[in-house]
Amino acid sequence: MFIITCPFCGERDQSEFSAGGEAHIVRPKQPTELSDDEWADFLFMRKNIKGVQFERWNHAHGCRKWFNVIRDTSNDKIHAVYKMGEKPPVK
């Protein structure tokens, strides 16, 4: 069980958070213009990386804020935490 530093509340136990899948998948502004394949790509396709992954997390049992986390899925090491709308601090 890891510790996540909520950008609004600080260090908290993982049990206070819920995971929201891959980050930086932007909902298309004009869905009707997209082909079935393009829409399916947005809707269903996720990278599910073993290694460093950009993820969304929600402080569900805390401030209810969504934010981004850079986590290594192979060892749960968290490299960075940053707010929604902010640029990732590393590439």
């Binding site: 069980m1 890891f2 510790i3 136990d13 819920s18 929201g20 932007v26 909902r27 298309p28 004009q30 869905p31 009707t32 997209l34 079935d36 829409w39 399916a40 809707l43 969304r56 929600n58 569900a60 209810r64 804020k65 969504w66 060892n75 749960d76 090491k77 929604m84 709308g85």
Partner: protein, 1001 residues
């Protein structure tokens, strides 16, 4: 009178406190501080149980958690009994009752022992191979047979009456293990301002050093045990240090999150325990962790190495030096290293007969010199090729080994003994290190896996880090702690340590024998009875991965998790396969390190504390009016209100009729309520619901359907525009939390530009829903100042009101199809609101109805329940709700998905009504629907989602999802049941008042 094997020279037991206990019904005595194992050994009892597969007699082998054989049942029958307790860990208490497991009719005479004589036919994978064909024999023959003869112990037949607890613990430094290195580490850590916790699984500190009496091992010119004893006295007074005894670490997760089980009463007599906590699970978050978990002695793998009386040499030493118990009168030590010589010297000093068989050619250490000087007979370059004795070892046969160690030569020598102490070297206990994600490396020089890289802030010290000699242990413990805690010096820096050093070592995983492997029984896993030949057989049959071999042969899969002989299994595999041992990897060590009771795992979360129970403000009223309740998520909802001896069916029929004929009242407080505020609230609703919201007037209500982005129906409910920029959304009872978090997700991540604020107000308001032709008359009495007519207060509108000075909101909305009102009031007035409605409704025979009647009434109207008539695969089009999907809106959640080729398929499962040909026949919800029963395989067209007998229509009605259902109106279909087939006809799904005339009645 049986022989007494105890000499009371030991200072570790309370000699004034003699304790009686029962083992297999017979009374024995021991002393306070004894384990069940040491007490039994002092009474000369070695035979403890039968092995799992061959039912071979097995005895106590070790003195700790690695014990594979001495597994007993504690307590008699009933709720206090506990199986699979290691006799080597269980402390005795007055009145303890223990019994052998896995033997019938008794441990002395065991019917299953016949397996031993037929064992050539029980090779590796026996269960996989034998009990496969013919398949039909499985239930009648194989499974009962396996269940009868297998299984370790008996589970309790009643609920566990004891108390368990969970507790959180935060510390700077956690030290695991109270042996010499753990004590030094805890001392250094706490002296330097760290809030430190030391946990030890035994009832006292000091590990094996505390009973080290050998003159070769000295610290600052004192015997190591004397020096350590003084250190223990000192650390007990340190204010930064908490010591927890009888506390074993079960799991080590990432980020230094650890679980430990503290045993509080298992060592106490039954009357000392009453109403006290039995065990506590500590949930530990440590900034830094120091593992000092020690090492476990390895056995040696040779023919018949499993007889009672064959024990680990270090354990024999602990029994004599700590417990004062000799494990035999004529002892033979069989070893490949120096440490077993400590046991020999200790026995010899006490005048107990001992000799040594060593597979090495010689050893030049001080220890060995001492043994030689004491006149102990040593057989160099010899190995044991056989042991004899059924219930207890009686003699062994030894032979000289060839130069390369692969063969035996010369003639057999028979040696009489009643104990064989074996030592194959040491295995560092790296289980916890690897559980935390640490990676191991293999050290070729002495063939051990030791910690390499850790993923969290931790170190391993002492023998769990691969240091086995006292000077190395102390020197490295001090320097590693200094680095780890960033210290320049410690109080221990100038310690002077002397010890005997081992120079010659030799390791043979499977010792040679004069007989071929097939004719011998060299056991690897004592609990699961797997032998070296099982491993080789598995490899011949093509298994290569250690994980596969382990499962196929069941090596390392018992309650001891293969703590003893996993290394030998690896060694034999690598030798057979001809690969380097380090490259083979190890099996994965998974938590818990030692088994946990279920009680510890669940703690206080049992019975009513198992889950949160949510009750509405009117709950007490329902209860006092004999309501039956239904669980909806965590909510308790009134299900129906039976009168006198009414059945559920009768109550629901009565309630349903009353609601349509005069007036009914429902507690709707559990519906999710979300307060939506902000200048963009209307735009927000436009984006989350399928229908249009911009034009909804203030004071008006609208039904909305919410989809997932994949186009499937997610939730529904009525939303009311309270004022220009304020809406009150209602959701389904079960969906409330998910809807809120989904809406928050979109607001925060996709549409942060919208000025919208969401607040859950589900618990803030209580809701009474009054329906039926007389609902208007009841409301008139309650709210005399409001004009209740269709012009001033039409269907789908709302008014603020006051009930005896308390603010309410009244929505004229309907889920039953009747003229009806929902009254929201602050929660604390909920019960009073309900009672006032009941009072005012009395003259109209107002009838409280529960969720079952609500479901029936809405089904008559063909209103869906999300989650009952939908299952995450239904679009609004599938539900024939095209009318609610806006064609004009450019976008809303899920819109694009409604135009995917799959969601546009016309033969999808669609919502329909079903009428049974016999109007009295009620379908079962979930029943499958088919067209043709004769054509195999039968095609499933769909299933029944809702089904009731409608008292208002006087016939059975049902909702169903059926493939291509929209086009099947009038089609005859079949619902096959276990004992009959029911004929049905597809119908419209609005069964009652299809013109909605009653809404305005």
């Amino acid at each position: 009178m049986s022989e007494n094997f105890r000499s009371l020279e030991t200072k570790f037991l309370d000699k004034t406190n003699r304790i009686s206990f029962k083992y297999n019904g017979k009374k024995y005595y021991g002393y306070k501080g004894d384990t069940l194992a040491s007490a039994l050994l002092s009474n000369g009892v070695h035979l403890i149980g039968r092995s799992f597969k061959y039912h071979r007699p097995r005895g106590i082998m070790t003195c700790g958690s690695e014990e594979p054989n001495a597994i007993v049942q504690i307590g008699g029958s009933g709720s206090f009994t506990e199986p699979n307790v290691r006799a080597t860990e269980q402390e005795i208490y007055e009145g303890l009752e223990a019994s052998s497991q896995n033997c019938w009719p008794s441990v002395e005479f065991d019917v299953g022992g016949i397996n031993n004589f037929i064992s050539p036919v029980i090779p590796a994978g026996f269960y996989y191979k034998t009990f496969m064909w013919p398949k039909k024999l499985w239930y009648s023959l194989y499974e009962p047979a396996i269940r009868l003869s297998a299984g370790l112990g008996k589970s309790p037949t009643q609920p566990d009456p004891e108390l368990y607890d969970h507790n959180h613990l935060h510390c700077d430094v956690l030290v695991v293990g109270g042996g010499i290195s753990g004590i030094i580490a805890a001392s250094i850590s706490s002296d330097n301002g760290n809030n430190t916790v030391l946990i030890e699984d035994k009832n006292s500190l000091g590990g094996s050093t505390i009973f080290q009496d050998d003159e070769n091992f000295k610290i600052n010119d004192e015997k190591s045990s004397v020096w350590l004893n003084n250190q223990i006295k000192k650390i007990k007074n340190k204010k930064n240090l908490t010591i927890k005894y009888r506390t074993s670490l079960a799991a080590y997760h990432s980020y230094n999150y650890l679980l430990a089980r503290e045993n509080l009463t298992d060592h106490k007599s039954l009357n000392e325990r009453s109403n006290k906590l039995r065990q506590r699970l500590w949930k530990i978050r440590a900034k830094k962790v120091i593992l000092a978990t020690g090492a476990i002695e390895r056995p040696l793998i040779f023919n018949n190495n499993d007889r009672p009386g064959v024990m680990l040499a270090s354990s024999v030493k602990k029994y004599i030096d700590y417990f004062g118990v000799r494990c035999g009168n004529k002892n033979i030590i069989f070893t490949n290293n120096d440490s077993a010589y400590e046991t020999a010297i200790s026995l010899n000093k006490k005048g107990i007969n001992v000799s040594i068989v060593d597979i090495r050619n010689n050893s030049s250490s001080m220890l060995v010199k001492n043994a030689k000087d004491a006149g102990i007979k040593i057989y160099w370059n010899h190995t044991v090729v056989n042991t004899k004795g059924y219930r207890r070892i009686k003699s062994i046969e030894i032979m000289k080994m060839s130069e390369d160690g692969t063969n035996v030569i010369g003639s057999k020598l028979n040696l009489v003994c009643d104990n064989l102490s074996i030592s194959g070297g040491w295995t560092p206990m790296v289980h916890l290190f690897t559980q935390s994600g640490g990676k191991l490396k293999f050290r070729d020089s002495d063939q051990v896996f030791i910690p390499n890289t850790a993923t969290s802030d931790q170190i391993s010290i002492g023998s769990c880090n691969g240091d086995f000699e006292l000077d190395d242990i102390i020197k490295n413990t001090i320097s590693d702690c200094k680095n780890f805690l960033s210290l320049s010096s410690t109080d221990f820096d100038l310690l002077k340590v002397n010890c005997s050093k081992q120079k010659e070592s030799k390791n043979i995983w499977l010792l040679p024998n004069d007989k071929p492997l097939g004719k011998t029984k060299p056991f690897l896993d004592f609990q699961n009875d797997s032998t070296a030949k099982d491993i080789k057989l598995a490899m011949r049959e093509g298994f290569r991965s250690i994980e596969h071999v382990k499962r196929y042969t069941t090596t390392g899969m018992g309650t001891d998790q293969g703590k003893l002989a996993n290394m030998h299994a690896l060694g034999i595999i690598s030798e057979t396969a001809g690969v380097k041992m380090g490259s083979l990897g190890t099996t994965t060590f998974r938590p818990p390190y030692t088994p946990l009771t279920f009680g510890t795992i669940v703690g206080r979360n049992v019975g009513t504390f198992f889950d949160i129970t949510r009750k509405t403000p009117m709950h007490d009223w329902h209860e006092s009016h004999k309501a039956k309740f239904e669980n909806v998520g965590q909510w308790k909802r009134a299900w129906y209100y039976p009168k006198e001896n009414e059945s559920m069916y009768q109550a629901v029929q009565r309630e349903s009729k009353a609601a349509r004929e005069s007036a009914g009242i429902l507690d709707a407080s559990t519906l999710g309520k979300i307060d939506i505020k902000g200048t963009d609230a209307s735009e927000f609703l436009n984006r989350v619901y399928t229908n249009a919201w911009s034009k909804l007037g203030i004071g008006k209500c609208r039904y909305g359907l919410m989809l997932n982005e994949d186009g499937m129906v997610y939730d529904d409910g009525v939303t009311t525009r309270l004022s220009e920029n304020n809406y009150l959304m209602t959701t389904t009872t079960g969906g409330a939390a998910n809807v809120l978090s989904k809406l928050e997700d979109y607001l925060q991540t996709e549409w942060p530009e919208l000025d919208v604020w969401l607040t859950s107000v589900t618990d803030h308001y209580a809701t009474a829903s009054v329906c039926g032709p007389n609902s208007k008359n009841i409301l008139k009495k309650l709210f005399p100042s409001i004009e209740f007519n269709d012009v001033n207060f039409p269907h789908m509108s709302f008014k603020n009101a006051e009930l005896d000075g308390i603010n309410c909101r009244i929505m004229r909305i309907s889920f039953t199809g009747e003229h009806s009102y929902e009254i929201n009031i602050e929660s604390k007035y909920g019960k009073s609101l309900w009672e006032k409605c009941m009072d005012a409704g009395k003259e109209f025979n107002i009838t409280p109805y529960g969720t079952e009647t609500m479901h029936l009434l809405r089904a008559e109207k063909g209103f869906i329940i999300v989650g009952q008539d939908t299952d995450g695969t239904m679009t609004p089009i599938d539900l024939q709700m095209d009318w609610i999907v806006s064609k004009k809106k450019y976008d809303f959640i899920g819109k694009r998905s409604l135009y995917r080729s799959d969601t546009m398929r016309e033969d999808r499962k669609q919502l329909v009504g079903l009428l049974t040909d016999n109007p009295n026949e009620i379908l079962e919800e979930g029943a499958q629907i088919v067209l043709d029963e004769k054509k195999q395989p039968i095609e499933m067209l769909g299933h029944v989602t809702s089904s009731y007998f409608s008292p208002n229509l006087n016939k059975s009605i049902a909702l169903a999802v059926v493939k291509n259902g929209k086009k099947l109106k009038g089609q005859k279909l079949l619902v096959p049941m276990k004992d009959k087939t029911i004929n049905v006809t597809v119908s419209d799904f609005i069964f009652f008042d299809s013109k909605n005339e009653r809404l305005n009645a």
